[in-house]
């Protein structure tokens, strides 16, 4: 049991790739939390997909012990957070569980869009920040410039910033001292009724659901009967413990402490992140404010390439959903693709991660359809429906008007690329809200329709700015606009999985781009194939894929018919990677690639 004055809880936040997880490594190592033998790079990024992509997806908590220069023993709970905007929700809830943050800034890059977003969240959470300038071992590191940016763009005092190299370990000791001296100790009352914040939960094959808690008041012990104040569910606590980062049992968790509990909870969905846990008897009477729930904003269809694998896909999706409350799914049938699921995600990276996991961990090949946002359809009878799938667009005679989600996007970009960025935002129907300069960098804020951003905006942004721009967004609300459903007809037949919602003014451009893309993506057939884009019955763009002219094996190898049969098998396997629409085979990747715009 550590006294409150000797506990420090903090998150590590930064723009993507600025070195949060590497800094966490050094803090773990410097305090001998993990033996040298067990140490590895980005230790906390334990998921395969995290290691492979070199990014953090899930926030991670570690408890470390630190004896400061003043001789006192401290307990530090650190939470390493993801940098990618799709997982911003992980950052915001992590911040609710701690009193301060290390704001890491890559000193070779400077302040980026997520750095800003993190600062705003920290201010919201009433947090102390310690700026840490990382990567000073690199020649491109420029601490003075970064300090200036921090003061100009963010408006916080950079005089206390600590220059470090998370790679070499330089400055790490100073970071530990700053944590102890500059971040506040938690508050709490040991004798008050139990109040624990449910910060996160996930599924473990052996232990069931594991709940990450931050104790605000009171004491949690093994065997306690607890109650979730929002859901009303009651459980007996099986285990409590802390992460070091392996799970280590403890006897009790007191105020200010962060740890876990298990209580035979079956599914992650049974727990509500942000809920307040108290004792069943003599519990707290007022819950904590709770968190805003994270809602899926991007929807797409996932279909098995081999329709026989539909049940396997259901199984995989259900298992993944067990562990990821922000991922939603419902069954979908497509005339073209058969049975599958309409799934909701936090963003495109989240979509990719789930898709990758299904393909790899469950070995199911997938067809992914065009990502779409959630539209609000106002019917003539005054009701409102959510539209997750353009294919479900109701008959227009019953529709009064449509609304689409909008975002506020913040983009930081070096001066010389500003023109390109403004053009990109303008092309995507953006409305400029703000434009300011900090040194040689501009910060632009735009109001944009989410549907123009969701798919390839970030790729385009990176490419027009050679990777020098950074981008962050928040949802702002819905607004009415002139939106229509555009269909694609291949060989005169509509392909439902290629339907998209689009602004009427952008329809011709998008339609033409999609037809051109499809012309490249669909292999030539023995006959020529018209590819058209249409709104209602009206064709607005058209391309023709000319017929295949030559595909024949010239010579014969004696009587080697086996060789020919193998060729046929290969063709058959190739065909499996296609979907048949009438007489036309469309490759799976076309459903996504057709949407990419090279504007």
């Amino acid at each position: 049991m550590t006294p409150l004055s000797h506990i420090r809880n903090f998150s590590i936040v930064a723009h993507i790739d600025h070195g949060k997880s590497t800094l966490a490594d050094r803090l773990i190592q410097e305090t001998n939390t993990v033996s040298a033998r067990d140490m590895k790079e980005q230790l906390l990024d334990a998921m395969d997909i995290e290691r492979e992509r070199g990014i953090t997806i899930k926030a991670n908590t570690v408890r470390i012990d630190y004896t400061a220069d003043n001789g006192e023993h401290y307990v530090l709970n650190l939470i390493d957070t993801p940098g990618h905007v799709d997982f911003a929700y992980e950052v915001s809830r992590s911040m609710r569980a701690v009193e301060g943050s290390l704001l890491v800034v890559d000193s070779t890059q400077g302040v980026e869009a997520q750095t800003l977003a993190n600062v705003y969240q920290a201010i919201d959470a009433d947090h102390e920040l310690v700026p840490v300038f990382n990567k000073i071992d690199l020649p491109a590191s420029d601490i003075d410039r970064v300090a200036e940016q921090v003061e100009d763009v963010i408006g916080i005092d950079a005089s206390g910033a600590i220059p470090v190299s998370a790679k070499t370990g330089q400055g790490i000791h100073e970071v530990l001292e700053a944590i102890v001296h500059h971040l506040p100790a938690p508050k709490g009352d040991r004798d008050a009724p139990l109040k624990a914040m449910l910060v996160d939960s996930w599924y473990d094959a052996y232990l069931g659901v594991i709940v990450l808690v931050r104790i605000i008041d009171g004491v949690l012990k093994k065997g306690d009967q607890i109650k979730m104040m929002q859901t009303g569910a009651r459980y007996g606590v099986d285990r409590i413990g802390v992460f070091r980062p392996a799970m280590q049992p403890v006897d009790e968790l007191g105020p200010g402490e962060i740890g876990f509990l298990t209580a035979s909870i079956k599914q992650v969905r049974d727990t509500k992140v942000g809920d307040t846990i108290t004792h069943e008897k003599k519990g707290a009477d007022k819950p904590l404010p709770g968190f805003k729930p994270s809602v899926p904003v991007v929807f797409c269809g996932l279909f098995p390439v081999d329709s026989a694998e539909f049940e396997d896909l259901r199984d995989a999706i259900e298992k993944l959903a067990l562990n990821d409350a922000s991922f939603s799914f419902e069954m979908e049938t497509s005339a073209a693709l058969g049975f599958g699921f309409r799934c909701g995600f936090l963003g495109l990276l989240h979509l990719e991660v789930i898709r990758d996991r299904i393909e790899r961990e469950y070995d199911i090949e997938l067809i992914t359809t065009a990502p779409s946002v959630v539209y609000h359809i106002y019917m003539k009878d005054g009701t409102m429906r959510e539209l997750h799938n353009p294919a479900d667009m109701p008959d227009l005679t019953h529709v009064d008007h449509l609304e689409e989600p909008r975002i506020k996007a913040t983009i930081l970009v070096p001066d010389e690329y500003l023109g390109d960025v403004l053009k990109l935002c303008q092309d995507r129907r953006g409305i400029q809200l703000d434009l300011t300069y900090a040194g040689s960098r501009a910060m632009v804020v735009y109001d944009l329709p989410l549907n123009e951003v969701v798919f390839d905006f970030y790729d385009r942004l990176k490419s027009v700015t050679k990777g020098y721009a950074s981008f962050d967004y928040q949802m702002t609300g819905y607004r009415q606009d002139n939106l229509v459903k555009m269909q694609i007809l291949v060989n005169d037949e509509p392909v439902d999985a290629l339907s998209i919602m689009v602004h009427r003014d952008r329809a011709e451009t998008r339609g033409r781009a999609m037809c051109e893309k499809l012309k490249d993506l669909i292999p030539r057939h023995m006959f020529k194939i018209p590819i058209q884009a249409a709104i209602g019955g009206k064709v607005i763009a058209r391309e023709t894929l000319s017929a295949l002219r030559k595909d024949v094996t010239a010579k014969c190898y004696g009587g080697d018919a086996t060789r020919k049969r193998k060729l046929l098998d290969k063709q058959k396997a190739g065909k499996k990677k296609m979907r048949q629409f009438g007489k036309v085979d469309i490759p799976q990747e076309a459903f996504i690639s057709a949407l990419k715009m090279d504007d």
Partner: protein
């Protein structure tokens, strides 16, 4: 499913629809051509007697399993069989005659490379029983022969061709077109010249870039330049069919042209899906034994094959092929020839008819013609035959 229960006699004797041939593979060449992925090897020394003995032993093995057959054709393929000693060829043919009766007027072909032709040798082949020569001339200009890595010039090829004509009534030759930097009109001129030389048969192959060959390697790293694109190649193909037809050489197969009656009967056995025994390194066979058809294949490496024959088995694959697979092979082979496939025969093998919707579609788009009895690929269909076959086989 009308014909699912046709009498088994018809099925087990399916090969009789096309006859029985013997293929003998000679795996050596004087030099390896950079485009070639045939089982051909260059070696310093060949013990012709040992090879003759090995072929004889293999003939005995095969004949024991295929008694009571009449042999329609024999084909010495390679590699370069014109590198065989006439005594080696004679030893093989003499032994064959002891094992099977020959049909009237059997066709016995030997492949020749113009770089290894002498009059004396050709007479020797003729005396041994060979009655048809297929010669790899490949190109009618020296620059292209060089680029194809050939060991002979046009003049040498012409001399070799004359020698062959003196000895044999039936002499065919091969050309490769759609070569690097070849234009449609250059090929037209070359083909017309070839037709003035041709006797009764011509094989005209579009250059195929095969993996694992020198051309294949160069192609992969982007260093094989000047290949005609698909459109030009298609134009060349169409032109080839027209010009040959005008000269009386019909395209009885995708790449083979003959005056009517002078087709390669041995190759027709493959395409009509008859039985053929294959001996020699890497040789393939299709043989029906006790009513079951097998796909056979011999060891590919010449040395391994030779020692295997001496000590045991040189045939390393013998797969029983199901009726469904046989139907597929019949389709694959049979659609290559102008006479097409017989629907009743296909149905008897497959146990079901071809997919009618696919047939209708292929007919609509002009790829095939179908009547109650036959399915025949059109000229247009030949150009995309792989797609036509895939559509039918995978329907």
């Amino acid at each position: 499913m009308r014909s699912a229960n046709l009498s088994p006699v018809v099925l087990t004797d399916d090969w009789k629809n096309a006859g029985f041939g013997l293929y003998i593979h000679w795996p050596f060449c004087q030099a390896k051509c950079p485009y070639c992925d045939f089982n051909s090897h260059v070696v310093a020394h060949i013990d012709q007697k040992a090879w003759a003995r090995a072929y004889v032993a293999e003939l005995d093995r095969v004949a024991a399993e295929l008694p009571g057959r009449t042999l329609n054709t024999i084909f010495f393929g390679g590699g370069t069989p014109s590198l065989m000693h006439p005594d080696t060829v004679a030893a093989v043919l003499d032994h064959v005659r002891k094992l099977w009766p020959m049909a009237n007027d059997p066709e016995i072909t030997l492949e020749a490379n113009p770089g290894s032709v002498e009059a004396g040798k050709f007479r020797g082949f003729r005396d041994a029983g060979v009655n048809r020569i297929s010669m790899g001339i490949q190109a009618l200009n020296d620059r292209d022969l060089k680029r194809l890595g050939r060991i002979h010039s046009v003049a040498e090829a012409m001399a070799a061709f004359d020698i062959a004509r003196d000895c044999f009534d039936r002499v065919s030759f091969d050309l490769i077109y759609a070569r690097q930097d070849q234009t449609v009109s250059a090929w037209e001129d070359e083909l017309k010249q070839a037709l003035t030389l041709a006797i009764d048969h011509l094989s005209l192959y579009q250059l195929t870039i095969e993996d694992g060959t020198a051309f294949g390697d160069r192609y992969q790293v982007g260093k094989l330049r000047g290949l005609p694109d698909d459109d030009a190649a298609a134009d060349m193909y169409a032109l080839t069919q027209d010009i040959c037809a005008d000269a009386g050489f019909l395209n009885y197969e995708v790449s083979n042209h003959a005056r009517p009656g002078s087709e390669s009967r041995h190759n027709l056995i493959y395409w009509r899906y008859g039985d053929y025994a294959g001996i020699g390194p890497g040789a393939h066979g299709r043989v029906t034994i006790d009513g079951q058809r097998y796909a056979t294949e011999c060891l590919r490496a010449p040395g391994a094959w030779l020692s295997a024959v001496e000590t045991g088995r040189a045939e390393h694959i013998r797969d029983a092929i199901s009726h469904e697979e046989q139907a597929q092979e019949y389709l694959l082979m049979g659609l290559r020839i102008r006479e097409g496939i017989d629907r009743a025969r296909y149905e008897a093998l497959a146990g079901h008819p071809l997919d009618q919707a696919t047939l209708d579609h292929l007919t609509d788009i002009g790829m095939i013609r179908a009547n109650r009895k036959k399915i025949i690929v059109s000229d247009q269909g030949f150009m995309v035959l792989n797609s036509v076959i895939a559509a039918l086989a995978n329907a």
